[in-house]
Symmetry: C2
Amino acid sequence: MLQHSILDTLPRELRKEALESIQVMRFPPGKILFRAGEHCQGLPLMLSGAIKVQMTGVSGNSIVLYRMGADDICTLSIGCLMTGYGYRAEAIVDEEAEAAMVPRGLFDRLMDQSAAFRLGIMESYGRRLDDLMLLVEEVAFRRMDERLEEWLQARRSPIHITHQELAVELGTAREVVSRLLKELERKGRVSLARGKIDVSG
Amino acid sequence: MLQHSILDTLPRELRKEALESIQVMRFPPGKILFRAGEHCQGLPLMLSGAIKVQMTGVSGNSIVLYRMGADDICTLSIGCLMTGYGYRAEAIVDEEAEAAMVPRGLFDRLMDQSAAFRLGIMESYGRRLDDLMLLVEEVAFRRMDERLEEWLQARRSPIHITHQELAVELGTAREVVSRLLKELERKGRVSLARGKIDVSG
DNA sequence: TCCGTTCAGTGATAAAGTCACATTGACCCA
DNA sequence: TGGGTCAATGTGACTTTATCACTGAACGGA
């Protein structure tokens, strides 16, 4: 169950302690791992699956910030744990996910004793930073029709999603997505059905 | 010169090594520390001053992502060093800054041997993540007139800045800033001069 | 089959971004 | 000291995106 995870790289002693004190959990799609404002209940180290992190603005609009995959450690939880503040965003499972919940004490020991673990942390942070920088640029400067088309092209057709969910992916309003999709349909690029988008080509 | 920096917390031996191998540098306002695409020349650990990090989109528009201050370590440089990719953004000095340039080897040793240093790194990452998440929300959902007014209120009047520079701070177009400022002037909230904004109240 | 609910479509209007060009102010320098 | 130059600002026209207020269509029970 822990095969191919970053924990495999630990020296024998530490690995033993890790395997004893961590709790492996399995989450179904749609499961909410945490909500904005809640406090950290442990550091999830992802073993498999995909989890999206999204935030909701004061206006009530939401946007997907980034996704976590295997070997990512939840950087938001680290921050939450360090500062004692609540989460600023929420995490929702996309694809059935397994995660090792690492207790605080073990986290500190891993940071102290394993260079590989530290590297994993830094990589997770690096990816998050990169994701967010790219997102800022997208949201600030790119056209919505281009972003929508790219999003659609990046998945396998047919795509099962509502316009509202797609709006959250892109950080815009549902009406905007509906109109742009209708326009794409008129151009023959997609065909639309309730909760489903077929991309041509 | 290194008083009150994170390096003070190091154990004697490590501190000695640090003081020998780091190079303290001083940068004047306007100095460009690095540009997009360049490769990392060392990890800056800021001792004083303020540095802004901004990125330019494919469209040619720019936006300020966040600012670094004393005790921040440049997370962008860490990522750059780890992955070997070039910088995705550029860093420009706002207020005269001093920074200790930490060589790769020392960085690794500090990570390995100083919990305080690790904590500093994590805090820097945490702040960056937080800054960027807030920025995404701002850019995606908030009205430009509100953002502009908040930005103005957060400084001491008179503010010496051009509309173009202000546009980069907010991630919008110069014309938008000019129009919104003119509107504020009509309402008596500011008075405008070339390169200067006086905020009333 | 009716009913409630979620999902999608759309007109009207406002806010923001883009393009093109006019005007203004600061400064240099002959 | 009067031009000349250039960066900074102003603005009209138009497009894109966001918001508000609905309407209608599809689905899933009861």
